[in-house]
Symmetry: C2
Subunit: 303 residues, 2 copies
Amino acid sequence: MSLLVVGSIALDSVKTPFGQVEEVLGGSATYFSVSASYFTDVHLVAVVGNDFPREHQELLTERGIDITGLDRVEGETFRWVGEYGYDLNEAHTLDTRLNVFESFNPQLPEKYKDIEYVFLANIDPEIQLKVLKQVKNPKLVACDTMNYWIEGKPEALKELLRHVDILTINEAEARELTGEPNLLKAAEVVKGYGVKHLIVKRGEYGALMFSNGSIFNAPAYPLESIFDPTGAGDTFAGGFMGYLANTDNIVDSSLRQAIIFGSAMASFNVEAFSLERLKNLNYDEIKERFNEFKKLTHFDDLK
Amino acid sequence: MSLLVVGSIALDSVKTPFGQVEEVLGGSATYFSVSASYFTDVHLVAVVGNDFPREHQELLTERGIDITGLDRVEGETFRWVGEYGYDLNEAHTLDTRLNVFESFNPQLPEKYKDIEYVFLANIDPEIQLKVLKQVKNPKLVACDTMNYWIEGKPEALKELLRHVDILTINEAEARELTGEPNLLKAAEVVKGYGVKHLIVKRGEYGALMFSNGSIFNAPAYPLESIFDPTGAGDTFAGGFMGYLANTDNIVDSSLRQAIIFGSAMASFNVEAFSLERLKNLNYDEIKERFNEFKKLTHFDDLK
């Protein structure tokens, strides 16, 4: 099945202990859609300025991503400047210039309205909901959010969550959103918002999925070198939703496999800056890494 | 097979966000041996003062632990006073009084010298080595240590590690010991010390085992209430070594199962202060929790 994503496209300047890059391709919709493109047809909704390099746009189309919903408007593309210390789990934002993203008011192309798998990347929850309402018969809707919206638009966010099946957020955000330091209790609160599955992203410690009393723990793939964690969460979400849209079978076993595919994609992404690693994968490598996760977590049953 | 442990017995005063206790039974050898006692015969070496309550000693003997090697000497038992904030991963030591533990110079009872499975809990590495040298034919030796010894006696510690098969330490200690922030690289350094298996304990994020190119990731069991993490690491080690001594088959598959048993035991331990939960378990409960870890981590292979 096809997959719709709405989110940001950005030009990122990133410094990590291992190097730095200036104005490289980034943004939640970018990471998500390139990651998901290895699994299914992806249709993107986003906005860029007229300064957006053509080569970046070509990267998306070369991955087969439908960019009918990509608006190119007068002005500058969204810029993000960030830095990571040796603790690569947390980004320190040095500068955010929303530019054309500030007046982002996405209208879905007609052909997008029948798409059944939807990912609402981390943007204003009012816009997330506005996009979702244009989709005729969504089958599975996932969204991301962040502390900025949890603090700034809590009511809009909760209204959105009533229409969402899966929420993917990081550990600190799960605690802030629910006011519960314990994740099991936080998961219960999120369930009360009407969300079926909560996925808590824990960076180098992997991810936890809470759904209907069942809990699934996925590790992160141990890597010798993590160059740049930017986009890891959206890359995870892309692998996760891409696989689900491809299987079109939303049961516990495929949700678990989807989490492993998401984790595998994220593990590739952090091996290089921007989309350098992510753009040149093949499905065999991805499957191989999936199988590595099996070796990493498998233990025999008791006799 | 039988299992030997040398370590501390203490009277702990602990404060957590969920309550506090004064002078309760604690110490690395205590947590280790009670945990291991559910799997195999445990023989303990430790020292207490003549103020050590008889009821605590009885708790050990009721669990079938051989305390021939427990010295009761003139003076006061080791005291530890600690506190945890909402981040239960890290203990803040408020007071340590070594008391009789200061002149601890363990001599193994004759019958202990043939024991093949050995755990050297976190004490002075010179004493750990001195104990180990009294064991005639050790088959599997594991040890713990801490930042205090890594900083204070690095050479003695490295000499010890040349005689040890398994090192269990926490994440920060692994980094400090090796000078490597990356755990994969830290594991290579530890291998260079002569240690076959490195187990990195990560508190609420579980444990990682590195052995011979194979990596195993075990999650922590998600709990609604963690009352007191004191002793979790030693309880983990007790379940781990207890299971290995019981199976007497040191291969990758049993090492992985042993890590799950260790994690299961630790998950029980943190549910209450002191050994309140740990002392009254039964093997069916333990197996049930082992199986819960399977549900928590299992995902289907790709077709």
